[in-house]
Amino acid sequence: MVVAVLAYLLHFFIGIPSVAIAEEYTFDISETEKKPYHIGGYAEIRPALFGLDKDASLYKLRFYNRDEGGTLEEYNAALQLEGGLEKGVARLFVRTNTDYRNSYLGEDFKTTVYEGFLSLKPSSSLTIDIGKKTLKWGKGYAWNPVAFVDRPKDPDEPEQNLEGFIVVSADYIKSFPGPLKTVSFTPVLVPAYKDVNDDFGDIDHLNFAAKLYALYYDTDIDFMFLVGGSKTAGYGVDFSRNITTNLEVHGEWAFIKDYEQKYLSDTGDIIENEVDAVSYLAGIRYLTEKDTTYILEYYRNGTGFTESEAGNYYSFIDNGYVTYVSTGNDSLLKKALNMTTGNYGKTNPMKNYLYLRASQKEPFDILYFTPSIIGVFNVNDKSFSLSPELLYTGIKNLDLRFKTSILRGDRYSEYGEKPNDYKVELRARYYF
């Protein structure tokens, strides 16, 4: 007993470290000086190799009049620049993206202003933004059915910057004591006219969207809508909440009124319908004791195609290809191409999907190394893409990523009919 107590005391005494034990660490205060301007961005190179599937419908649609062999190489580079200038209550922000692509189609070079807006902040409660910006509504990681004023993101690259739309928006924030901690209201005007947001939807409309956010009983809740005529009206709600220190749940629900559905019948006729569609998403983010993070999401795309509607499209392409091979007439394939753009060609165009991302932080004690595996599963036709990824961020301002995607599925399934069976990609991105 005495020995135990003495041992405990010894531990107690030597447990308190001396304040004098200190290694020299430097913190240059000049790093904290604020400048009125900011210039930054990144440059990246991204070579990729595609393994082609010559039996796939979308291969036939894309390559029917050319032979590219069994594999395709593609050399991509990007330069993303951003600059900010702040004076008083005003801030000007611009982000441009320049893409370079050298592929089987030759060289392509395109610069796009992703964002460019003036932000006025007369108080910490109110911000007014005028210009091109992304709003990125929704809580989902891979999909956002409630993002009515955004371009759809790619579940393969959900963290990529996207091009915005020209808007006038405001954020009014109010905090409270009690269970309702925060409320913020974001009204947004989205003009769609010739040369102004002409790719937002039908032109000659002034659209109005709004989002009401609340932090209520430790749950983020958003209500949002879009009306105005360029797109069919949408109404949505989303939420997100931490259940424990390592588990987060989130969800989205959207109602799209009078959605104009356009699909191919089994005889190849174009059928157009107006339907009220409901889309939703449910997801979790879970961190295990071994530092593995899982993101799992289920997405119901109410505006998506059924398995038979998608099958009709693939079968139509196959028939068009047979006609082209036997007669040289590509009119059916051109009709299929028309049905692809903005319709069957959308990212994840069908009804039900599952997304799983599992990433392991620093395995084998390799700091800044994160291997991940990402799976996107089409629940309807059981096809999928599986993408192992290795990310290393140990070199200052440099991200190195090696990613492989394997696509599998039966004939007339989404991933079975993609033009490639696999893709291998290396990405080196340097931030400055």
Binding site: F27, T32, K361, L367, T393, L398, Y431
Partner: protein, 242 residues
């Protein structure tokens, strides 16, 4: 006889200091670590076993017992990223992603040994109750228990300097008393305005053998903020508070 005498002395040392109000002491430790509402700059350094370092610079603001937010100023790859904590709720804003995503306290937005709860530290008294206090001369050992299951560490053993009322070392433990990490407070410095606190916090962990993370504080000063600065909607604008 000698053994009995030594045991009695030992027991005297081991008797909890009932006379002392542990909660009041802990609140004083919190106030000495920083004003209730303040701003500060921090450099976070992750040190690998081979001595390689990775550094991050953050601007941090805190209000009251449950609101804290930080924005990364450097390196370029992290610039503009911000974190917000409101009680048990934590979010991470990445400019590329464009919207705040919920994160959990045990994750780490910077890698290394510090997790999100360490980086967005609230007052200890806000998250823990004092179960027991032991005194050894001028040094105190506070046994702290998390108030809720959502707190990152179930138990803390806080070794404090009784005179300065500042922590010297904190051991972070699981519910089963397994040591997760040890946090050392070093180099007490006068930041002006009555703020005298350790300028360096260092941590290591048996779970990350050979690694350590360091936090260096600068320009710690009392400042009041509107509650609206601690909201999701404001996260992209945190830089404007500098």
């Amino acid at each position: 006889m000698t053994k009995i005498f030594m045991a009695m002395i030992a027991l005297l040392y081991a008797i909890p200091a009932y006379a002392m109000d542990g909660t009041a002491f802990l609140k004083q430790v919190d106030r000495n670590l920083n004003p209730e509402s303040y701003e500060s700059y921090r450099k976070l350094i992750n040190v690998e076993p081979d001595g390689r370092k990775k550094e991050y610079t953050l601007f941090t603001v805190k209000k009251g017992v449950d609101k804290v937010a930080s924005i990364f100023l450097a390196p370029a790859s992290e610039k503009g990223r911000s974190t917000l904590r409101l009680g048990d709720n934590m979010w991470f804003y990445i400019p590329n992603v464009g919207k705040p995503i919920r994160i959990t306290s045990l994750q780490s937005v910077v890698g290394g040994v510090f997790n999100n709860a360490d980086i967005l530290q609230l007052d200890y008294a806000a998250e823990y109750t004092v179960e027991k206090v032991e005194q050894n001369g001028n040094e105190y050992l506070l046994y702290l228990k998390a108030k809720t299951k959502t707190v990152a560490y179930d138990r803390l053993k806080l070794y404090a300097d009784g005179k300065r009322k500042l922590p010297a070392k904190i051991e972070c433990l699981t519910e089963a008393s397994m040591l997760i990490k040890t946090i050392y407070f070093k180099e007490v410095k006068d930041f002006g305005g009555g703020v005298v606190r350790p300028a360096v916090i260092e941590t290591d962990s048996p779970l990350y053998k050979g690694y350590k993370s360091v936090m260096i504080f600068a320009k710690v000063k009392a400042r009041d903020f509107r509650d609206e600065a601690f909201t999701l909607t404001f996260m992209p604008n945190l830089e404007s508070l500098r």
